[in-house]
Structure formats: C-alpha cells, structure tokens
Symmetry: C2
C-alpha cells in the first residue's frame, strides 16, 4: 500500500490571501495529495495554477468537502462562521484564517513557532490562525516572553493597506496616481479634496500622503476591533489571560507588510545583548538591528519574505525591565497564508505515512 498524502481544500482560493496560498503550496509541493480549490459561486469555474497544474475552482457546497482531509478557510468571517463547521462535520480538519473562531474556547489559536502543541486540542475540528498584526508580532514577543516573562505590551501599528483587502490596495494605488506630481499635502484638506470622498475606498480618510488611525469596526469605549483583537489574541496564544495590552492601529500608505512599534515590559530585567541572542536564534525571526549601517526593518525590504523582522532593539532608559522593538511582517504571508499553511502542515504530520 502506497502511503497516502492528505488531501487539501483551499476555500477562498481566488482572494488575495488565496493567491499567496497557491504560491506557498507550489513551494511546499510534497506535503499534500489532491488539492482542490473552492470559492464563491461568482468565482467558481475559473482556472488557477497550483503546483504547476491548471485547476478549476469548485463552488462552495457541502459536497465540495467530500474526501477532504484538511480545509483551509481564507474567506470573510461570515463565510467561515457558516461553512467551517460544515467542513468539519464532513471530517475535514479546518484551518481558519478569519476572526470567526479565534476567541472560541473550543478552537485553538495557533502560531506554530509559539504554541505548536495547541493544534492537537481541537474539539470542534477547527484551528484558528490569528489576525495579521498578531501573527507577526507574537513570533518576536513570544520568544522574548519565554526568557524574560512578559508583563505588559503597548503597541502602535503602521498597517499596510492590503490589510483592508484588495479594495485597500486599489484605493492607495488610485490615490497615489492622483497626488504624485502635485504639490498636495500642505493645506488643510487638499489631499481629501483631490482624492474625493465618493470613491470605493475602505478607509474613512485619504490614505495617500496620510495616515489613518482607525482599523476595523467599533468595539466600544473608543476602541477599534483590530486593537482589541491584538489584545485578545496575544493573551490567548501566550496563555496569559490577564496580560495588559494597549494597542493603537493605524493604516499607512504601504501596500503590504505591517510594522509595529512595541514597548514590552517584562517580569525580569532585560539586556539588549541577550535579547539580540534570543531574537537571532528564534524560529521565524530575522534580527536586523544595526542602525549605524542603516540596518533596521522597513516594509519595502520585508514584503514578500516569510519571517518577522526585528530591529531598533533598545532597553527603556527609565525601566530596566522594558524593551522597545520595531517589528515588520508581511501581512499576506506570516500574517495570513503562511501561518495557515504552517498550521496545516503540522496537521498533515499527524496523518500516517506508511
């Protein structure tokens, strides 16, 4: 009997994250048996290339999960909420990139570098992958936590417009074309007037020549959903249910790769040299920290790469237990498709190989 490689379904194959997932599947071509691509009725019938083969996109139906061992969900929250339990009921292990199940006590929230063990405890047959900011952040912060004992996080994000989907990228590209070659950006509202209010932008303010301190939906008491997601998810992944976390999420005119300025306070005193050693050897982390040589991570260098890049490591001058970090991670890779693929591969390893 030939060993059977598990079969895989990619739900949401035609979206932005789906596109990155198809690249990753082609790079890790030996993990999976049959790969089926699934999307909404609107996109069904399209043909996409995965592992070098043209593959027709199937419509999202219950039957589409027949014989599927692992199903990746790269779709909006409401689609996951409805369809992930159906896929699980048909025997597939679901790895879900949406927010629908992240805080469900019966669904593990997994970043394989940090809490790989959690993937096996999945009473609903569903494993969740975190928000794009959390996924990149936690790889660095989790490694430091293991050594120093995390006690508080204050985070300000510099989020790429692709975090708001393809509409976010389209809005930035369109607005950049409107402001390039002009003298805009020096008078109140001049950028807003130039880019218009009526276009199909997911942002509440211009995103070219601007920053927008709002991401997600209202979550009460002035907080945005994205800010609370970082807090809730960091607590769950690190198993620190009372960790104080204060996040401010801000969109910046960057296509892809989220950056974060991190103030992390620990139980124990920290040393930059030791933090450097930890980050230099932590899985999924690149330490890039020599400002004198111009070495600090920026989105334009990090985009398209897998790891979380960390630089600007300093000990707080007034608190020997606090570190400042600047962290960059590609929100479409580690922040989405890559982490989902890593979780799925750890599930694949459970399947018998002989």
């Amino acid at each position: 009997m030939t060993p059977r490689r598990p079969s895989l379904a990619v739900v949401g194959a035609t979206g932005a994250t789906g596109g990155v997932m198809l690249q990753i599947l082609s790079q890790h071509a030996d993990v999976w048996g049959e790969v089926s691509l699934i999307a909404s009725p609107r996109s069904a019938g399209r043909k996409l290339v995965v592992r070098g083969e043209e593959t027709e996109v199937l419509e999202l139906t219950e039957d589409a999960f027949d014989g599927v061992d692992v199903a990746l969900f790269l779709v909006p929250d409401d689609v996951s909420a409805r369809w992930a339990p159906i896929a699980a009921s048909k025997g597939a292990v679901v790895v879900d990139d949406s927010a629908a199940f992240r805080l469900d006590a019966d669904v593990p929230l997994v970043v394989p570098e940090i809490n790989p063990h959690a993937v096996r405890m999945r009473p609903r047959g569903i494993v969740a992958s975190p928000n794009c900011t959390t996924a990149s952040l936690i790889v660095a912060v989790g490694a430091l936590h293991a050594e120093f004992g995390l006690r508080e996080l204050v985070i300000s994000s510099y989020q790429a417009v692709s975090g708001a989907g393809r509409e976010g990228v389209a809005a930035l590209r369109e607005q950049l074309s409107m402001v390039a070659g002009t003298e805009l950006g020096t008078k109140p509202g001049d950028v807003r007037r130039a880019v218009g209010e009526s276009e199909d932008s997911p942002f509440a303010a211009p995103v070219a020549l601007n920053v927008v301190p709002w991401a997600g939906t209202e979550a009460g008491d002035g907080w945005s959903s994205e800010e609370l997601a970082i807090r809730d998810e960091c607590r769950k992944i690190l198993d620190l249910p009372n960790l104080p976390v204060a996040a401010t999420c801000v969109y910046v005119p960057v296509v892809a790769t989220h950056s974060m300025s991190v103030h992390a306070r620990f139980e124990n005193e920290v040393e930059v040299d030791r933090a450097h050693e930890i980050l230099a050897t932590a899985p999924g982390v690149v330490l890039f920290d020599s400002p004198a040589s111009g070495d600090f991570p920026t989105p334009s260098d990090v985009v398209g790469t897998d790891p979380t890049w960390v630089g600007r490591v300093r000990r707080a001058l007034d608190d020997p237990r606090a570190l400042e970090l600047f962290v960059c991670g590609d929100n479409l890779r580690k922040g989405a498709a890559l982490n989902v693929a890593q979780i799925a591969e750890s599930v694949a390893a459970e399947f018998p190989r002989a």
Copy 2:
C-alpha cells in the same frame, strides 16, 4: 511720544520654517515694528514679501542685529550655536528654534500654552523652542498632566518628511512619481530598486510606499537623537526631570504634520469624559474624537492649521490610570514657526507700549 513697537529680525528667512514665519508675521502684522530678514550670504540680496512689503534679505553679520529687539533663529544647530549668543550680546532677545540650546540649564524651553512663565527667566538672553514632535505633543499631554499628574509616556511617532527639511519633501515627491501607476510594493526591495540608492534623500530607506523607523542621528544604546529629544524636552517643559519616556520615531510618507500614538500613565485614575472636557477647553488643542462619524485627526486635515488635534481618546482596558491618544500637529507651524512666534509675542508684550 508714540509707543514703540519692538523691532524683529528673522534669521533663516529663506528656509522652509522661515517661509511659514513670514506668513504668520503677515497675519499678526500689528505686533512688530521694523522687521528685518536675515540669511546666509548665499541667500542675501533676495527679496521676500512680509506684511505685504517686498523686503531685501540681509546677510548674517554682527551688524545685522543693530537695533534689533527680538531675533528669531530658524537655522541649523551650528548656525544658532555660533550666532545666537552674538545677537544676544547686542541686546536682542533670541528665540531659537534649533536644538543648540534646548537642554541648556540657562535657557528656558517654552511652549506658551504650558509653561509661559519660563520665558522671563533667560540669563543668556536666549529662549528655546522645542523639537517639532515635542511642541505638538506637549500641548495635549501638558493639559492632561495638570489634572491627572503624568507618570509615564510611551510614544510612537508618524513623522512627516518635512521634518527632514526641504530635501525630505523633495525625496518623497520624487519617489512618489516613480512608484505611482506601478505595481511596486509587493516584492522584497522592489521599491528600493525603483527609487534608487544614490539620489539626494535624507532617509536611509525609501520613504514612498514605506515607513522608516529612524529620525536624526545616533544617540547611543540604539536610540536616535529625535527619540531622546522628545524625552529630554518633555521632562524639561513639564518640570518632571525623572519622567519615564520611551519614544520611537518613524518617518511616514506624509508631507507635513506629525502624528503621535501616545500611551500616557497618570498618578490618578482617569476618565475619558473628563479627559474630553480638559482637551476640549485646553488652549491650542482641538478635540476631534468621534470615530463612529469618521472624526479622528489625520495629517491631511490638520496640515496648515495651528492647533494640536487630539482624537482616539481611550482609557487603557487594563490600567485605569492610563490613556491612549492619537495626536496630530503641523510640524512647520506649532512644531516650529508658530511656537517661535508665540514665544516672541510674549517677549514683545514685555516692551512698554506708551
């Protein structure tokens, strides 16, 4: 005898901050008697309009300060360090926008909304105006400090490229023209290759479609000079010499107006309603905080205005003594020319008027 209005000299009249100063002088035309414009030999002889009159720019010499009551210095640190004491020795009160004297114990560092009294204690005849980030920030934070008692600041900046001078703006404009209409920003280094390494940019990385977590020069232990300036200047202006301050300074592709994400911890418990009341009535502050209506400050709306705009006011969920704020201020106005003009006007008020 006619009351004499004090005479004014503007040193650095031909620079970016000088240009904004000439606008402000024209708006506040009744404060000053004779206004002379002074610049380096390279720019001397040019004619600029101030208060509606063409005025020839004089060369920076000792004689240029003859009969000058108040001299505004809007020049690089080294020029101020050399020439401000000369102007003071000739009897002018110097208001200096450079970093040369900000931390000098014999030079007050003044933001008139916060520490107006300090302007009169100037043993060297020099008054300093703070860094552009500090000036906008402190107007909001100082008002809250007066009520709640500030105990700690964690700040991440979103700084406009004009903070790096006209070269910064030119670099952003040029780079935007290179990336607009392209698909750049999705592959490692694609923006860096497109905008080139050799151009005359003051930034160590591309600033279009990117963020650059470095501002100023190396200041030891991984900190940048701009980050330490915020710490030192907040401490001095608030007269809190031991205040813990951790700042991370990051350039973003915005022409003018610095933004800051602020985590402020106080001695006493804070209430958002009371913070709103304080900020709504604080001099030099505009409260703009209703995210449900899209009301939060962004650089594109704040640029060209005088006040510090504050929004996104939340109480930290895990610390009843901490507030999160998002603060925007035009770095060329309150962050530079406006604060200098305000200091100068408070000096002008000392002159007898009858």
